[in-house]
Subunit: 255 residues, 2 copies
DNA sequence: CCCATGAAGTGCGTTTATCGCACAGTATTT
DNA sequence: AAATACTGTGCGATAAACGCACTTCATGGG
């Protein structure tokens, strides 16, 4: 794909090594050299050099057959968490919101066609997958994702939706780009978004944009609950006032 | 320091790039090329190549003067979080413990002379610094650190304490290696550890080892509260039973 | 039991990525 | 305004990284 200029200042080895780290995930906790070579499209020799290097500097370990990451890689993610203002600012407010409502709350950024969790206060485990800071979910079918997409130029939002090659995660998931465009327009108008079991059956989530001093949408935050406990309409009624309050509270504090 | 063999299979560029990422932290959220060169002991040219590479692949951004990390680096840390069993297993139990006690609970691994947070459920902000998954604190003056050190060979524990070049963080901090050795022996005997304002004034923390099916100490978990609300003795009385219960509950579930 | 398969390790010749220096341009400081 | 500090660029030298080809080893099926 990239048959372009060789780029004088580009450390290919670094790029490859990071790709190697990223190819570990929940479904692939331990990988062989050949696994990594396939997953990253590197040559086996290159993958091997990366993995051995990672092992040597303590980011991975090797038992003779499989490589695993070590907790040391958390240093890398934490480097951003510690240096970015927003996660630290928002976290205590989420904890308060969560305590008041007895529901889990989170904050996300938009990254490509995905939302990226940057802060979270969990009240109880409601989703089948564990959410944590660093988790990514598709933007098009999440309440925070739609809030963030609605804040972008419609063409940009559509491009991001298409980039994700959206597929339905439940029978309720809306995947049609045109219907999504309509929904985003509504979200933009009403200033919040409710997603009712489009990400996972039984899960309802309500999100609102996080706006900075200049009026820009920089992130989104949400509350999520179970459909058994309360309907979408009930959640809106119960939670919107508190969320609006938090939005107003944070506005003068963000960048 | 390493004037050794050149090591046939070692990608120096990868090691340097990771060092560059790690030199960002709370106190250094944006850095110039020269800053990074100093912090990592790389040549300016090498630091520049690393930063430009990171920027090109989306892990950093450059405004013409300063480099910052982007949230994309969270992918790296999340690669481990998602692939390791322990954090995901422990997190919901911490949330329950935290809900029952109305105090913040965490789980940590021992990494060198530091403890590394791998899961956490915060009830309210009690420490002056925000704790999150990926945070590191010195082992010698934290309840979880002492639990984890106590589980090691005494010589190994002492070596780790000395490696940290411990300094007092409050007037109560014990830094003397011999006194610490005595404390660790007590911790080993009683099976838990209370640290009373040695890490931060006003903060009391009680920790217990997390033991796996083979009887090995693989991690530690804790509850922390404020001294104004309850004394160390009160905390022990109120929290130890629940923590013992959790310890027993987790034991058959861990590795 | 033996052969087919897939993966790991090794050696090597080639290539080019990486290195650090040196110089020039620019911003910041005193 | 001189001085300091930092950035960007070019370049030649070096060795670092590359990928191929081959061997070895483990696994599993016939």
């Amino acid at each position: 794909m990239t048959q372009e200029a060789p780029d004088r200042d580009h450390m290919a080895a670094l790029e490859k090594g990071l790709a190697v780290i990223e190819c570990f995930d929940a479904a692939h906790d331990k990988l062989t050299i050949a696994d990594v070579a396939r997953a990253t499209a590197l040559s086996r020799a290159a993958a091997r050099r990366c993995l051995l290097t990672l092992a040597k500097i303590g980011y991975a370990e090797f038992d003779g057959k499989f490589f695993r990451l070590t907790p040391r890689v958390l240093r890398l993610g934490h480097a951003w968490l510690a240096s970015a203002a927003l996660p630290q600012l928002v976290q205590p407010f989420l904890e308060r919101l969560s305590e008041e409502t007895h529901e889990s709350s989170s904050a996300c950024l938009l990254d490509g066609h995905e939302i990226l969790y940057i802060a979270r206060s969990a009240q109880r485990r409601i989703m089948s997958v564990g959410l944590s800071v660093g988790t990514r979910l598709p933007a098009f079918c999440t309440s925070m994702g739609r809030v963030l997409l609605a804040a972008r130029d419609p063409a940009d939002a559509r491009a991001r939706i298409l980039a994700g090659r959206s597929r339905a995660l439940t029978p309720h998931t809306v995947t049609d780009p045109d219907r999504l465009a309509t929904i985003l327009a509504e979200v933009r108008d009403q200033g919040y978004c409710i997603v009712d079991q489009e990400l996972e059956l039984g899960l309802i989530s309500i999100a609102m944009p996080l706006i900075n001093t200049r009026g820009e949408v920089v992130a989104a935050f949400n509350l999520s609950g179970q459909v058994q406990r309360s309907s979408a309409a009930e959640m809106a009624e119960r939670f919107l006032p508190g969320m609006r309050q938090l939005q107003a509270l944070l506005r003068p504090l963000v960048s």
